[in-house]
Symmetry: C2
Subunit: 347 residues, 2 copies
DNA sequence: TATCAACACGAAAACGTTGTAGCTTACGTG
DNA sequence: CACGTAAGCTACAACGTTTTCGTGTTGATA
């Protein structure tokens, strides 16, 4: 086992000073050609690489981004991470991932654990519990300490920072209008409780679409699922609620604010003998594996998670590397969405 | 914006020495009660937290694990990451994620980028390209430098290190025998090329099952997909191959070495008018969202990714924290599998 | 021969910690 | 009174870098 050589051991071995070695490796013109070559050869031979930690300490920069998300077993978040990784690696940054599991406490712990010098900035999508309890002190404190944060998807209006979102209202409106124009008369929505920003906004878009098409909004057609935690855990609960919903309402069009709700609705509809898309048309939100491989394949809105990730990383790194004295104003990037036409809607 | 206070500024502020502050905060008995209280109060007020980087440098430990996986947009890998995170966080470790995208080069870069002091050890599932080119120098060099590696799922026999795997042969045998016992006469397998260890082993299990049940192995029934890269990209290619396969062979039972192959096979079968499970029974490998939400829900083998992740983290952290002088021998943990009975098989 | 660049290198500080060793002061003991 | 010692604190080194500021040698110039 050969230990990683340090400047010190190279210096001793070659009988020069540490500074000489350092400078030689960085090709400083202070050092003579001969010495440089000697040092470089030796360094190559022993596969010298500067110690990152020491550099971090010296530069007060870790070249590492902290990404905190509610859960990783979730297609959308993984595509975002891919995007972040892609951009970050390109710029020489690493990515350290923290999982909040939708828990406020774990989110706080993760933030604190990483804010002690381990990372230069955060990219975060806030936990449902945090949104629900409305306690954002950990976020504002982090920003106060000079650690920039970029929020994506689930953002908080009260906190000033860079954000990457999708135009939820407009996009949802577009989706629901698609249902309207393909003949649906009774369109319902399966959403989340209002404290989840995206759920609220998408519901708003749904209402907008109906109203501007002269259709009255029927509150009964709006189903708000209360899943505070990991959605996979209470799948039965979800099915039950959708069952009840179908029992009470006869819809021929359905807009679901995420894939899982859409897929589950399809499943329940099938059990009730409804043909898709003939009896019931469905559009989901967030294009993931489920939509693509569902039967029938689900028409859905692509949020372009990869681009969102890239954009978030870009905003963060730009802020980190901004050397101007004046603070850049905070930006909110809106990533475009697309409706992916598949087989749960008619043309 | 208040900057994070350091020991130095606290010391100056309270007019004591840096060491005194350090010791006071760690409750050393060298320091008088009065001073301790004063320091602690001040530290609390200014929300002092020791700088992680400085600690890492001093202790030569980062309390960070590097996880390198082929792709993150993949249910199995994300469950493994969850497991790793869970165990690691519990032990005070952070997790830094690197994506190889199935590329040898990116795997090497990731390894090198993190091996410079950023992490204490690696958990890795090797890229397909690495397996295919059989170049493992980056792995052995890392181990040589004293950085332990734990491999999971896709492992390399030639490299000595801790490993976490599933008994692919035995598990596959069990699955195929299930097909046999539920009446299948012509059982096929959709696997990967042999350089992917899990593909090879699962094919072996398939053959074993047939042989020990007196069925001759028909090489035509073994389809080996050559997807060197991200499987989502060449979905059409996959479908095509399966189409051809069905054209040439009349199977009534199918074992697929992963979810995607199984789901795609179902799709193609449906197009050919085959009823599942009546005309064709299918079992997949790796229980993910796809299997669960497929139509019909796919009978599949659960690899328990979460447990694999936990186990990998456990092996790594145990090795890192092992203070005995004698090297622990390398362990290979075999995580149990289960067949999740759903609706693509008969009873 | 004295002066001065240019050159090649080294010493030391700094980043934030911790641990060891050392230094006062006060007090008790012989 | 001299000595030992305990309490309470500080100085310093070290982790691995980079960078600023020397410093000594050489050779050329006045």
């Amino acid at each position: 086992m050969k230990q990683k050589p340090t400047l010190k051991v190279i210096a001793k071995e070659l009988d020069v000073s540490v500074s000489t070695v350092s400078k030689a490796l960085r090709d400083s013109k202070e050092i003579g050609e001969e010495t440089k070559n000697k040092v470089k050869a030796f360094a190559k031979l022993y596969n010298y690489r500067p110690n990152n930690i020491a550099l971090s300490l010296k530069n007060k920069k870790t070249k590492t981004l902290g990404v905190i998300i509610p859960e990783i077993v979730h297609h959308f978040f993984t595509t975002v991470i891919s995007g972040i990784e892609h951009y970050a690696n390109d710029k020489g940054y690493n990515v350290i991932v923290g999982l909040s599991n939708e828990s406020f406490k774990k989110e706080v712990i993760n933030l604190e654990m990483l804010a002690n010098g381990s990372i230069d900035g955060f990219i975060i999508s806030v936990a449902k519990e945090t949104l629900s309890v409305k306690d954002f002190h950990h976020l504002s404190e982090t920003i106060d300490q000079g650690i920039p944060i970029v929020m994506f998807d689930r953002v908080i209006d009260e906190i000033e920072c860079d954000k990457v979102i999708v135009d939820d209202v407009k996009t949802s409106k577009k989706a629901v209008e698609k249902l309207i124009s393909s003949g649906c008369k009774h369109i319902g929505i399966i959403s989340t409780k209002d404290y989840v920003s995206v759920g609220r906004l998408r519901t708003e878009g749904y209402k907008n679409a109906l109203q501007s098409n002269g259709i009255e909004v029927d509150p009964d057609l709006i189903l708000k699922i209360d899943d505070k935690f990991n959605s996979d855990d209470n799948l039965e609960f979800l099915e039950e609620q959708i069952h009840d919903y179908f029992k009470k309402n006869a819809v021929d069009g359905l807009f679901a604010v995420n894939e899982l709700y859409a897929i589950t609705a399809m499943k329940v509809a099938r059990q009730k003998g409804l043909k898709i898309p003939d009896d019931l048309q469905i559009i989901g939100f967030t294009d993931g594996v489920l939509s693509k491989h569902a039967y029938p394949p689900l028409t859905t809105i692509s949020q372009h998670g990869f681009e969102m990730g890239e954009e978030a990383a870009k905003l963060l790194i730009e802020r980190l590397e901004n050397t101007n004295d004046e603070e850049e104003p905070f930006k909110t990037t809106i990533v475009k969405t697309d409706i992916i036409d598949r087989e749960t809607t008619k043309l």
